[in-house]
């Protein structure tokens, strides 16, 4: 046991030693220690280096507000992380931590030369320098700055852990489980309300964990807390969440909680997530976050050994650790006196208590005397010394505002308290208004925007009894607001060490303003001088001061710095603090891992991958897939040794010469039913539908109201009142939503109903001269002859014994059928067709072959040959417009001046002069390749393939005035070569459509 650990004291397990290493050296801590308390117990204060000047830094706080004690923690397997707060990380057997932002080591850091040069590196120095010579910025200055900046080293391997999430709904969410929060949760819990109580500490209790003097309801704080914990745990309507930080207060009482689940365990169970994001929706929220102690700003206030007084009390009473050998306290608030007394009583010599106040409660000085503590009122600290650990301080008397001569006091620990700041971060997330309280020199909650209540230290109350009673009262209010009957118990205490204080940011000093180095933001090395410089340079908004100095922008987000920074800035500006105001608090309350935000969205469940019923066959048969919207689709089916080109050429040949089989299940399908179905389609699609006979289908074109092509597909009329509409794969959801929108809001009088059947049907396309031969024997209930079932027909029938909706359509120019069967039968039908198809040289093909074959026929793919700026006319689809229809969606837009411009880009074919050259999709066209850059472009290639059927390349392109350029030679300047191509019609293959009935 080390000299700094008090046997038997605190809430740590004295019989459960735990070994860990820091910077490679092994230490021993106790179970329930944090890394910080364990290091302090081993006499280690120096734990890190500051951001800018690389100054040696020690542990300042005992909570999540810690700016200095950030370490790298690793447990192998990609489980390494930078910037972990030693004050929150619990020790476990084998914990490995290292210090950061130092080279070569913590005790000797070359980066500390920045400290020597600090005069040349004031706030914003980089805005004023590094501009000459200009080219040095990218090559020299910036890389140097970057290397010096940053804190820890980022992980280099993928994280092996996983993360979880939960939605929760409750009547009352209590954030913070100090006396106020605990009492609130108890009161609300007893009323029967559903309660969640969350605290970011490992144990609930807050201030009670560190107070062994106070008696509550005639019990010790520890006993009362145990009873409260037990009662809360036993209430079925209460959920207790320790190690859980409320990170953000979002709209309408949704609070995000980040729960740390395994970081304190030596060997976490495999299925346990590391962290979990709770998204809690609460009817009422109680914010009982307590208050954060303010550091004091004075010359040399950043040395290892200088610590917040409240933190020392926590280390002493909760962890049984003494902060040092000889302690001095400097304060403007009573609370630090009690810390000094506790330490003295535990055997730590207190050299002096320095209080800036001229007069205080005499009870305090009276209590100091018998403990042998020298009490120095109206005094200040003007300097400190010691490189890696505090050695001494200068203490001066202040009389009538004048700072007297310095007296040297030797000490290794200086505890400071500048008073307390109510924690209102979450309240501020709601855009609730704060009001300045002159008496406590702090902001208190004022106008609320959400159903929330603030209790305890968060609204400036001091003392355990106040906190308990306020918590109980607010807990009852919250429960009642949520509709429960609650009564607040009267909780009484003895030995409650309530007190008072004044707020003081900067200690009086005898030093000239230029020779002080008084830190306001410890991590970012922002001094009071920097803040004054910013104001001096015209930064009169606190937001400018923040950004110019970076005060409050470090990983503690100004939890310690903001109020002191404000006080100093306000004084420099010459306005009272409330007129200057605070910067905005933003989520998360404390830094939260990306993994927690990502939750389950990791690896296989990062995003949905939709697969068709036939996908398993494709996967088994070597398909290469491509993602199309959320779907994965078989792209092509290479045989061993084939590249994409060879596979696609083979698939194309087979389809044109025999029969190809294609999984078209991803096509969107909507059934449109009702007496007004035809009218509905007339209004929506460009085409006329009235005359389409049942049993027949037609290509349909859908525009946005802006006149540009939005989607297309085949629409079949099943009966007078019933249509089967198909959409593109990516457009399915969008089109259905658009249809519902028009139906519900523009034309509610139409009697039509829409049902998505995309997933109801598996769709298998058969294309090729052998398609009918293959299919005919398998079909029952429908004659497939040209007469009975011509191109563009549909029928309900049976295929291979499965109920089917059969279309005769073709997207390839070959005779084609699309068989829809209930999805459960899709795979069986596919296999059956493949089996039967062997005799007909069947070949499965993927989306790439489908694209080639349709391009040979000049069929467009919406989204590839169109891009949201293409009209039907541009795409040669003027024929698809019902000329006599008075209106349809997008019609009016087509008459706008720019949309009737004859020089618009129009879809044409392109044939390269060299038939072997396959153009790049996206290649730009010019009519004169000899112009200088910027060269005027007149179009671009939208689709381009090797056409196996034609034995040459083909392409589609959008070209200005394209249809008037038939036969013209255009140029495609590439990086190192210019291709030439002639404009052609878009139909390259079988222009007369003879193959459709072959």
């Amino acid at each position: 046991m080390s000299a700094f650990r008090i046997p038997g004291k605190g809430r740590v397990c004295h019989d459960k030693p735990v070994r860990f290493t820091f910077d490679g050296k092994q230490y021993q801590g106790l179970e329930a220690d944090t890394l910080a308390s364990a290091l302090l117990a081993n006499g280690v204060h120096l734990v890190g280096r500051s951001f800018k000047y690389h100054r040696p830094r020690g542990i300042v706080s005992a909570g999540s507000e810690e700016p200095n004690a950030l370490v790298g923690v690793s447990r192998g397997g990609g489980r390494e992380e930078p910037n972990t707060r030693a004050t929150l990380q619990e020790v476990y057997e084998g914990l490995t931590a290292i210090s950061q932002n130092r080279w070569p080591c913590l005790h000797f850091d070359a980066g500390a030369t920045a400290d020597v040069l600090h005069r040349f590196l004031p706030a914003g120095f980089y805005y004023k320098t590094f501009m000459w010579p200009k080219r040095f910025w990218d090559r020299l200055y910036e890389p140097l700055i970057r290397r010096a900046a940053g804190l820890g080293v980022p992980p280099s391997e993928p994280d092996a852990d996983h993360y979880a999430s939960r939605y929760a709904h409750c009547d009352v969410l209590v954030v913070g489980a100090g006396p106020a929060g605990t009492a609130a949760a108890l009161t609300a819990g007893r009323s029967g309300a559903q309660v969640i109580l969350a605290d970011e500490q490992a144990e609930i209790g807050g201030a009670l964990l560190a107070d062994d003097k106070v008696q509550i309801e005639d019990q010790t704080a520890a006993d009362w807390l145990s009873a409260a914990q037990a009662e809360l745990a036993a209430l079925p309507n209460v959920r207790l969440l320790a190690r859980t930080t409320a990170i953000g207060y979002y709209h309408q009482n949704m609070v995000g909680l980040a729960q740390r689940i395994t970081d304190h365990l030596a060997s976490p169970p495999a299925d346990a997530p590391r962290e979990r994001m709770w998204r809690v929706r609460a009817a009422q929220v109680v914010l009982a976050q307590g208050a954060i102690e303010r550091p004091l700003v004075f010359h040399g206030n950043d040395r290892p050994g200088v610590m917040l007084a409240g933190a020392a009390q926590i280390y002493l009473n909760r962890y049984g650790v003494k902060p040092g050998k000889t302690v001095v306290v400097v304060t403007s608030h009573d609370s630090a006196w009690h810390t000094a007394f506790d330490l003295a009583d535990a055997g730590t010599p207190i050299a002096a208590i320095i209080d800036t106040r001229p007069a205080i409660d005499p009870a305090l000085t009276e209590a100091a005397a018998p403990r042998g503590i020298e009490a120095l009122l109206s005094h200040t600290v003007t300097a400190t010394s010691g490189r890696l650990r505090l050695r001494s301080i200068h203490v001066n008397a202040v009389t009538d505002g004048k700072v007297g001569g310095a007296r040297l006091i030797l000490c290794d620990t200086l505890l400071m308290s500048g008073g307390w700041t109510p924690s209102l971060h979450l309240f501020s997330h709601t855009q609730g208004k704060l009001a300045w309280d002159e008496a406590s020199q702090s902001f208190l909650p004022d106008l609320k925007t959400e159903a929330c209540h603030i209790a305890g230290g968060g609204r400036g109350l001091w003392g355990i009894e106040n906190a308990l009673q306020d918590g109980a009262k607010v807990g009852a209010e919250a429960a009642m607001a949520a509709g429960f009957n609650a009564t607040a118990p009267a909780l009484t205490t003895q030995n409650d060490r309530s007190g008072a204080g004044i707020i003081i940011a900067e200690l009086p000093t005898d030093r000239g303003p230029q020779s002080t180095r008084s830190f306001v933001d410890l991590q970012n090395d922002v001094t009071s001088k920097d803040i004054r410089l910013a104001v001096h340079e015209g930064m009169h908004s606190i937001e400018h001061v923040k950004r110019y100095t970076t005060s409050g922008m470090a990983t503690d987000q100004g939890k310690l710095a903001n109020m002191n920074g404000l006080a100093i800035a306000a004084a420099a500006i010459g306005k009272p603090p409330p007129q200057v105001g605070l910067t905005t608090f933003r989520p998360p309350y404390t830094p939260t891992t990306f993994g927690t935000f990502a939750g389950y969205h990791q690896d296989d469940t990062f995003d949905i991958t939709r697969k068709t019923p036939i996908d398993p066959w494709a996967a088994d048969n070597g398909a290469v897939f491509e993602p199309v919207s959320l779907w994965r689709r078989a792209w092509y089916f290479p045989k061993p040794g084939e590249d994409m080109h060879a596979a696609v050429a083979r698939e194309c040949r087979a389809t044109r010469n025999a029969v190809g089989i294609f999984d078209a299940s991803t096509l969107g399908k909507i059934e449109v039913v009702g007496p007004d179905a035809v009218e509905f389609l007339n209004r929506l699609y460009t085409n006329p539908w009235t005359k389409l006979a049942p049993g027949r289908c037609r290509y349909g074109l859908l525009l946005g109201e802006d006149g540009y092509i939005l989607d297309d597909g085949v629409i079949g009329r099943l009966s007078e009142d019933r249509f089967h509409v198909t959409t593109t794969t990516g457009g399915a959801a969008r089109v259905l939503n658009m249809m519902e929108d028009y139906l519900q809001t523009e034309w509610p009088d139409l009697r039509v109903w829409l049902t998505s059947v995309t997933e109801q049907w598996a769709t298998i396309a058969l294309n090729g001269p052998n398609a009918r031969k293959l299919l005919e024997p398998l079909v029952e209930g429908q004659d497939l002859s040209d007469e009975a079932f011509p191109h563009m027909s549909l029928a309900d029938c049976t295929v291979a014994g499965f109920p089917a909706r059969l279309f005769r359509v073709s997207f390839t120019g070959e005779m084609g059928f699309e068989v829809n069967v209930p999805a459960r039968h899709g795979l069986a039908l596919w296999q059956r067709l493949l089996g039967e198809g062997e005799a007909h040289d069947i070949c499965p093909y993927g989306t790439e072959t489908m694209h080639v074959l349709r391009a040979e026929k000049g069929f467009i793919v919406v989204g590839q040959d169109t891009d949201g700026t293409v009209t039907p006319g541009d795409a040669n689809l003027g024929w698809a417009i019902g000329k006599r229809k008075p209106d349809f969606v997008g019609k009016r837009s087509l008459a706008r001046p720019d949309l009737v411009d004859p020089n618009r880009k129009q879809l044409v074919g392109l044939l390269t002069d060299d038939p072997k050259v396959v153009l790049e999709e996206g290649a730009q066209l010019v009519d004169d390749p000899n112009r200088p850059i910027p060269m005027q472009m007149i179009g671009h290639v939208t689709s381009s393939y090797w056409s196996e059927a034609l034995g040459r390349s083909i392409a589609l392109a959008l070209v200005e005035g394209g249809r008037m350029r038939m036969g013209e030679t255009l140029y495609l300047p590439m990086a190192s070569i210019t291709h030439t191509a002639k404009v052609s019609r878009t139909v390259f293959y079988d222009p007369d459509g003879q193959r459709l009935s072959m």
Partner: protein, 422 residues
């Protein structure tokens, strides 16, 4: 005309001032009280408005100018964006405008005598689908012929440029390649606003902060007479509104309704770490944008929320999605921590391109609609806006960005072409 002496910023002046305790730096911009009348009033002290004021003074000799800001200068989107600067836009009009901006960015620190930390670390736009590839190739070819650098890189090359990138072919959104613009990069957002403010102020421009413009006043002939503000009426024959998300509210007071909607756009930073991320990576498919600032934090951008809002907040689900996407592309970042997230109000037009030029009202100019991507154009927008105001006639570069295009249908639809944000 009161022209403030601007202290020259340099390593030497820094040294000299260090020796005298930094007591002699003048204010970077004085707190101006509004005069009764100006030649030109610019509403909104974002980067764009300040840049316009600077170029009015510098290039057109018009210095009787006020920039009127409702809050603190640079506190709008200029102070809350992910600082991506690039010019590899598809359409000729956009490419010219954004490339004009890059030309101005290059040398801006020296021009303003303020280090705006323009860092040409390169921007990589990842292609995850065949469609992405087609679209990016179209951009690359178009850019080349427009003289804008943008090249295709393979997944392996992408990984060499950006080592944390996951290029596994098993990824849900595998990297099929990327468009890479080397001249692109980032700049320090605050410094841009401050640098322009300081340089404009030094040329006599008044910067009036904490002074919301409540209305634009028009005379009996319909022409602009000035602006109503929280500090009273201020006269000016020329008023330019450059108020990003708030533009439509102000323009409405002049009777001009605009095709604009204001959406929340969120961004976040991680805790600062040692250099790990050398360039900018954008993925439009998963809506995530990332770079590392000179201070070491990862700067990450998200997509817009679905509903319009002026709350500068935005929702949690979107942020969760963005962070998940970042972790998917860079699995080493899962243990990194989010330090802070915030929102901005971005003004979006139907074609996702800006409106920059004259309005139907005599003497009223507008610069808006930059949506999720106008930081990069700050110098270019300011420069051409100044030209438009000074000559009452657009610069050829901003001439296509008119309001009329929404009537004629001559849209500049970058979004339709590529679904590109930032």
């Amino acid at each position: 005309m009161k022209v403030q002496a601007m202290a020259h910023f340099s390593a030497f002046s820094l040294l000299r001032n260090a020796l005298t305790g930094h007591k002699h730096w003048p204010a970077q911009w004085p707190d101006a009280l509004p005069k009764a009348e100006y030649d030109v009033i610019i509403v909104g002290a974002g980067g764009h408005g300040l840049a316009a004021a600077y170029y009015l003074a510098k290039e057109h000799g018009i210095t009787n100018v006020a920039v009127i800001e409702k809050g603190w200068l640079g506190g709008g989107n200029t102070g809350r964006n992910t600082t991506i600067v690039r010019s590899n836009y598809l359409y000729d009009e956009s490419a010219r405008l954004y490339d004009h901006a890059i030309d101005l960015w290059d040398g801006l620190s020296q021009d303003l005598n303020y280090n705006v930390m323009f860092s040409q670390r390169g921007v990589m736009m990842l292609a995850h689908t065949v469609h992405d590839v087609q679209s990016f190739q179209r951009h690359i070819h178009s850019n080349r012929l427009n003289g804008v650098d943008n090249t295709w890189v393979t997944p392996q090359q992408a990984k060499e440029i950006c080592p944390p990138l996951n290029i596994s072919t098993d990824a849900r959104y595998p990297v099929l390649g990327a468009a890479w613009q080397q001249r692109a990069g980032t700049a320090r957002h605050d410094a841009v606003a401050w640098g322009y403010a300081r340089a404009a102020a030094a040329r006599g421009v008044d910067i009036v902060q904490n002074c919301p413009v409540t209305a634009i006043r028009r005379g009996p002939d319909g022409a602009v007479e000035g602006v109503e503000t929280a500090k009273g009426f201020i006269k000016a024959k020329k008023v330019a509104v450059s108020a990003a998300g708030h533009t439509s509210v102000i323009m409405e007071t002049a009777g001009v309704r605009l095709p604009l909607e204001s959406f929340p756009l969120q961004a976040l930073v991680s805790e600062p770490v040692k250099p790990i991320f050398p360039c900018v990576v954008m993925s439009n498919t998963v809506h995530a944008y990332i770079s590392q600032s000179d201070k070491g934090e990862l700067v990450i951008g998200s997509g817009t929320d679905q509903y319009t809002s002026y709350s500068q907040r935005g929702g949690l689900p979107l942020i969760e999605h963005t962070v998940a996407a970042i972790c998917e592309m860079f699995p080493v970042f899962r243990r990194m921590r989010m330090l802070r997230k915030w929102g901005g109000i971005v003004d979006v037009t139907p074609d996702r391109s800006a409106i920059l030029g004259k309005t139907p009202v005599q003497g009223l100019y507008v610069n808006c609609g930059w949506g999720t991507g106008g930081f990069k154009v700050t110098p270019g927008a300011g420069h051409t806006l100044a030209h438009t105001i000074a000559r009452d006639d657009p610069h050829p570069i901003n001439a296509p960005f008119t309001l009329e295009r929404f009537t004629t249908g001559r849209l500049i639809d970058e979004a339709a072409a590529a679904a590109v944000a930032h």
